[in-house]
Symmetry: C3
Subunit: 355 residues, 3 copies
């Protein structure tokens, strides 16, 4: 009981932190009908600068890290992304009123990673002076890409017979099952997965992150990192949180038109996924000495749902899926719930590992 | 005579300060036909960051202030806003060639507050190391909203009979006088005032300022305030001054199509209103020990005319008023005259109160 | 041989510097088909802030400089700009498949100056702690305007007969030769040159630079210069380099449609022009004690080709010239080659002058 009270009081204390205050402020402004908007050009620039910052920081850390200590969390991150999507395909997708492609797209977004949520997690750890591995940002693409590819492949496997039927134009339903015909039709073979991978790598978010990583590893950006990217990080994050809050409120209305299942998933999934990531992090901690801060950030990444790179990738790959469902659930519920859960994972790490 | 020479030399010295230099530079560029423009998205972002900065700073100061020392200037600020509009309705509105709704809209803008002018005033005081109450930014909405509501209500009271006549469609002129019918018709009762208040609160400028205030009071944004909002303040202000200068020159041409009365009002009103604010500040200084810097900023707020939040609010509330008249007078003349008058109020404070 | 190896190793070391890493990273991203883009509004703002920074810095240095030490490099800069254009008119313009107006426009751009390249040069000198005259930025407009005016005048002199023929509409070809008729027709006299000068001064880049210069000379912007313009310089430069890299790759495809001559010119001209500038700088160094860093920056300016102010000025003045040719050659090849050559000029200065 005391622990529960302790958790609650920690969470409330965290709500006073500027990161969460700006998120809640943005939601309040939108709820009250404010006409304040942040221009899209500014939003894109802020996201790019933050992803470059996360990438540069991770790249400079990777430069000095041994590959083994990096490999275990990276593989784990990819596995977590895949497990989250599989979990979604066995829960959300089977619920009442959820179309298969809509459900798979939603599960894909919840498996993918949100740069704003990860940045918020980093900022909150740094505000508490909790250390974490510098290379954590490098895990982002592993989890993100694994989840998106899994979701798109699963959705296409299921959709294939219909597609074939339509493309044959004679009503013949070819039962699925995979195999060589898929490869020939360009449906689901190595070519498709390569296309999805390429498309994901080319997305603005992953591009910016990988560019930062590469420059961090191969060049020496320490000066500009300190004077610009690090310097502006918290301020730009505060503006981004404000935008996420306003966006979340605006997107919530999208959910009114969709099945109740999405609302339940959007509220519960970030916590479940976060605990999954936390558990995986705890194992890595015990095996390799992964830091408590690293465990928190793995949980935050698992908890988060993609708001930048995911939606356009899914729109391209699954044009039949309804964006109101997957963007509404992810941006309207998943992102704010994940950000507001960060203090919970910090507290959990304090209780299980200690700082 | 010596005092006059002293004032003139102070004003000229201030023209060398970057804040005014950028304003004058912007006017010169526009006058010389430069094609330099600052993208609208950047302008909106700069204004938002500056209003958040003013709000956060005020909020953090309000947190530690006793409410009484805040209440006297706040009530005074609201009264000054109302008096300026009433003054305008007795002068500008009665002048030749001034339509009632255009005149009231102009008086409303001159009673409202300009974020850029207030920020310039703060920057110039800080450059001179002149202290002022941290909560000054919190006075902004009191003066701003009081002025806008007064102007809109006065304009609607005057316009009401016609409106009724038109809506009755039979030429019957119902003489005004207020009372319950107004409430029923949604013309001017509590509902209308609530609508105007709501609309003003929802304007981007007031929203950003109040959000900053709330976060400053309830959260602990000191870190991000120092590393971002305060750090970028002077630089963003210099860009904003450049924009205001270019805008002022561009808007001046609007005034050619309107009555001469607007030109006179735009040149004289900022000085008269500033002296009014200065006088009120002087009284508060003598009664409550309000600082000399605070008196200057109260004068600056009174002197300034709204360039961000006011125009859209007025366009919504008084669609019959001509924006060329009110925006031209305010942005083309009121804002540059008010900004260029800041050194005058600083000098005046030095002569009457001393720093 | 040892010197060559030394140069090569210096250049490779420089490729690790963030300035060049971001340029190459941008080219790689574009080559790999990344959808990362920097919004145009952000690009314009970054360029404006950087030009204001260069101008302010130069202006503050001019304030304290004696005019003579400024006059020699300024006149040299203008002469270099003119010589580069004359050189282009005797080489590129006479090559196979090059239309006269296209060739002159290209030569004009290569004579003009690139703010991003100059900024990259300054950043790379500062990273190596190599001093240069603070007023160097003030040389920019001398070279830039001299080159653009020369190119436009030469192109118009050649094009005049046709223009006249067309405007007379009767097929009569009036042979050129200059003189009063030109003045009357507004073709090429003092009026035209004044128009070109005015148009160049009004271009966003020159406007911003001259505004910064004027404020640097006449006001005291030292505070805002340090806290904002200087503070953000390297970070904004890194984003600008990213944009230039992506732009360069995108523009390269334009060159496929044009004559091979442009490709050769785009690759060779920056080096030849840079050496020309370096030689001129070396003479000034020996005569007036111009610094080694100043010699490098004069070479960088000569080597660079205009990517911001030049193209729109040329589009206005030479509407018959094909932008694919001149913008493709300049932005696609000239700018990256010039930026990548900076380490070469630094090494050359070390070898000939020493730091």
């Amino acid at each position: 009981m005391e622990i529960a009270a302790d958790i609650v009081s920690t969470v409330f204390a965290q709500l006073q932190k500027p990161t969460l205050a700006f998120l809640i402020g943005g939601m309040l402004l939108a709820a009250l009908g404010s006409r304040l908007t942040v221009p899209d050009a500014v939003y894109k620039f802020i996201v790019m600068v933050m992803l470059l910052k996360v990438g540069l920081g991770a790249g400079m850390a990777v430069r000095d890290a041994d590959l083994l200590s990096l490999a275990v969390p990276a593989v784990s991150a990819a596995l977590i992304g895949i497990v989250i999507v599989l979990l979604g395909s066995q829960t959300l997708v089977r619920l009442n009123g959820v179309a298969r492609s809509d459900g798979m797209a939603t599960a894909g977004l919840f498996g993918a990673v949100s740069a704003s949520t990860l940045a918020a997690g980093m900022a909150m750890l740094e505000a508490e002076s909790i250390a974490y591995e510098g290379f954590i940002g490098a895990l982002y693409p592993f989890m993100d890409i694994a989840a998106l590819v899994t979701a798109i492949v699963l959705a296409r496997v299921a959709a294939r017979p219909e597609t074939v039927a339509i493309s044959q134009g004679d009503g013949t339903a070819v039962l699925g099952g995979g195999g060589s015909p898929l490869l020939e039709r360009g449906g689901l073979g190595a070519d498709t997965i390569r296309d999805i991978l390429l498309d994901t790598f080319r997305s603005p978010a992953i591009s910016a992150l990988l560019l930062g990583l590469a420059i961090g590893v191969f060049a020496k950006p320490d000066g500009v990192f300190e004077s610009f990217y690090s310097q502006l990080f918290y301020g730009l994050l505060s503006v981004l949180m404000l935008i996420m809050g306003m966006e979340a409120w605006a997107r919530l209305s999208d959910l009114r038109k969709t099945a109740h299942a999405y609302v339940i998933y959007g509220l519960v999934a970030p916590l479940v996924h976060g605990l999954l990531g936390f558990g995986a992090g705890l194992i890595i901690h015990n095996v390799t000495g992964f830091s408590a801060g690293g465990v928190v950030l793995l949980a935050v990444m698992a908890s988060s749902s993609s708001d930048i790179s995911g939606p356009p990738t899914l729109r391209g790959a699954l044009p039949e899926a309804n964006p109101s469902a997957y963007v509404g659930t992810s941006t309207g519920l998943g992102t704010p719930v994940a950000i507001l859960s960060i203090p919970l994972f910090i507290k959990l790490a304090e209780l299980t590992i200690g700082f």
